[in-house]
């Protein structure tokens, strides 16, 4: 259990090896291999962009764009064993572009950013109970409130580790930083998380 938390990818060595083998085949032009990679990483990439786009429609468009770009740039993937972090780096760049465009549009429309910041997460009334919806909403509210208080680097690393579930090694590859630097940001963020009683109670199911 603990090892899974510390290094979720390394805990699934077979997945890493399988991914690297598929990526190698995809680089060599095997469409079926890339199709399997899309199946494997679609949920991860969708979640990653959803956390940042905060809109299911945009998240789906962005996730599709990530795979489209990955497919078009496969020949530039030099290390197939790094496919996952490479895919996340494409996603991260697209999300940044998306927010840059969004900022421009907000300037044009004089959109009130504070309204967006407090916009509740969409809740699908048909498929979840009211209690689940409330808890989910509360979870997002607490996560937003917590991450907003973190310095930028700690926030980025925290989200990549616990929301996107990348390993420390993958985060270091993705952000092109030393693992030691990633760890120190992560440890500081987790130490701050330990003081967020409401969020922790929510996570423990005590609320």
């Amino acid at each position: 259990m603990q090892n899974q938390i510390a290094n979720p990818v390394e805990a699934h060595e077979h997945t890493v090896e399988w991914t690297a083998a598929l990526a190698q085949k995809a680089v060599q032009g095997d469409r079926a291999a890339f199709d399997k990679l899309v199946d494997l990483f679609w949920p991860d990439i969708y979640r990653m962009v959803y956390f940042r786009a905060k809109n299911p429609m945009d998240a789906e468009d962005l996730a599709q764009e990530v795979f489209l770009r990955a497919y078009a740039s496969l020949e530039r993937l030099r290390q197939p064993e790094r496919f996952r972090s490479w895919l996340f780096s494409i996603a991260l760049n697209l999300v940044r572009d998306f927010h840059r465009r969004g900022r421009g549009l907000r300037l044009i429309k004089s959109h009130d950013a504070s309204k967006e910041a407090h916009q509740p997460e969409p809740v699908d009334q048909n498929s979840e109970s009211a209690l689940e919806g409330v808890l989910r909403h509360e979870f997002w509210r607490e996560i937003k409130s917590f991450t907003r208080e973190l310095p930028e680097k700690e926030r980025e690393v925290f989200c990549l580790r616990f929301l996107d579930q990348l390993s420390i090694k993958e985060i270091a590859q993705l952000l092109d930083r030393a693992e030691g630097s990633i760890k120190s940001h992560l440890f500081r963020a987790v130490a701050k998380l330990r003081r967020r009683n409401r969020l922790l109670k929510l996570v423990r199911g005590e609320l």
Partner: protein, 193 residues
Amino acid sequence: MNTHENHLYEERLIAAVLAEEDLSQEELEHLALCPSCQALRDNIASDLAGLEEMGRQAVRVPPRRFQIPKEPLIIRQHRPGLLALAGSLALAAVALIAVWLGVWGPQPATIPTTGFSPLSSPAVGPGYMAMPPRPLYDDQDTLAGLGVQEVDTFSPFQQFVLGGDHTAVNEDFLDFIIPEPGPRGRGMQGGAA
């Protein structure tokens, strides 16, 4: 060993969860033997696992719609260097045109410089005091000396509307700005009218 009252500090316990390889041999040995530190470490691990799980469950992933395109794709890459070069060239071209127009382009119609300045009176605000104030008759003398007619500030149409003789209008206007000293304050009355 980083300990507090013979136990590991919280930061070391966090390290034990996230990167156990960072712990020293001594810390690992303590952790293996200390139930209190183990409980705290497991508590942190459990919270982080719960956070990951809630994050996973908090997003409902739609079924994949992406299909691999049949044709090979070419994504146009932006080349910042080329873009910057194009921008610089465009700026240089604009600057050259501006310089060319300034030197060779049509010159604006100029009014002969006479040195006459009705605003050079001391009564005018400090913004116009770059030149030392001169009495009006100096300007008139200059005009007479140069043999240049006073420039008419009214267009032919304005002169037609005003009936040709607009001196009274000018005088009233000047009176408003520069009231004549005197017991009746004629200038102020003129201005109010």
